[in-house]
Symmetry: C2
Subunit: 215 residues, 2 copies
């Protein structure tokens, strides 16, 4: 498998975690999101990924876009170890956590949106950081509440084994930390994030451990 990835992309980071948890080897093809005006806009890449975003997973000639679609595909094609629980109600709980991060937090804070705020709307750095922290706080506080209120939460987001919700949570927390978001109101998330970072699968997926990492 080939993963078109950018070391700083938290959507690519999610997929790297899942590939590692499943013990699947893959080749990283770096797509630099700012160099050369953005390598994701190159014609060849657009052919693979019409939305011109990372990641894209290529498996035996099949190009799959959208990190959550890739995660579900990996779960279906490589079911062991399972990263989703078996029961539909439990799967719905995990997917609701995943979508809260994938829909309610991340899309508002990715590179292209921050660029639009700056260049098209003339937002200054202070306003941009406030925007960023606002959506992170709102979204992660909802996730914290989902985790804190449920007996299904274990050492990880769902039970005592890492899974797809953790694969979304850890990259989001890395972003939140980088922007200095308030972690004190997120005790369950902080605990789970630490448990994940004990595992090699998560550590090896981190931005600083990617072949295209920059200082």
């Amino acid at each position: 498998m080939k993963l078109y990835s950018y070391f700083r992309s938290s959507a690519a980071y999610r997929v790297r975690i899942a590939l590692n948890l499943k013990g699947l080897s893959y080749e990283t093809i770096p797509v630099h999101l700012t160099k050369e005006g953005g390598q994701q806009f190159a014609e060849a890449y657009r052919h693979l990924n019409p939305a011109q975003l990372v990641p894209t997973l290529v498996d035996d000639g099949l190009a799959i876009t959208q990190s959550v679609a890739i995660l579900e595909y990996l779960e279906e094609t490589h079911p062991e170890p399972a990263l989703l629980p078996a029961d539909p109600a439990a799967r719905a709980r995990v997917r609701a956590i995943m979508q809260t991060i994938a829909c309610d937090i991340h899309p508002l804070n990715n590179l292209r949106v921050l660029k639009y705020l700056k260049h098209e709307l003339g937002i200054d750095v202070e306003q941009r950081d406030a925007w960023y922290k606002h959506w992170v706080a709102l979204g992660l506080e909802a996730v914290e509440s989902m985790l804190a209120s449920s007996a299904d939460t274990g050492l990880f987001c769902h039970g005592d084994k890492p899974g797809l919700a953790d694969a979304l949570l850890v990259p989001q927390m890395a972003n939140a930390r980088r922007l200095g978001c308030d972690e004190s109101v997120l005790p369950v998330i902080v605990r789970i994030d630490k448990a994940c970072m004990q595992l090699e699968a998560f550590r090896l997926a981190a931005p600083e451990n990617q072949p295209d990492a920059e200082a």
Copy 2:
């Protein structure tokens, strides 16, 4: 089943379509997103949905949040008629279309974001409409390209039966149309949207046909 819904919410609209396609009856519990400062912020609702968004599906006491998680749950618990194809590669294709709409378009244009742009960033109506159209155009052009380039596209997004990708596409197109986005560059989407609106399941799910509809 009970669906906490707001007639104008396109995330709730997705779920209404899927429930109708599967022939499942449900009770609508209206959650008015602007009345009384937003009924989604009421304590009782927050208990069901910590992110304080619509929709929430309650099935036999189980509250499920996030429209995409609800759609996957309905597919798993009521597999007939299938709204996802059987093959993992085909499922990944459908989910990539779903996530392009659910992550790359809708989160940028929902009510709370437009409110933030107006109240916190002082954006005027013209700038707000440009923002809205920008993300719709970018996202729907990616979806158009995914549909136009694939032999799997049929009368609907995937093959000749309506499914989950269509359940996301139709509400997004309704929004795009309301804001006067340019449809001329989206011929395949326009064709599929029309095919969907021939079906009662889609028509009955439309905002104007909800019990909480307003003029």
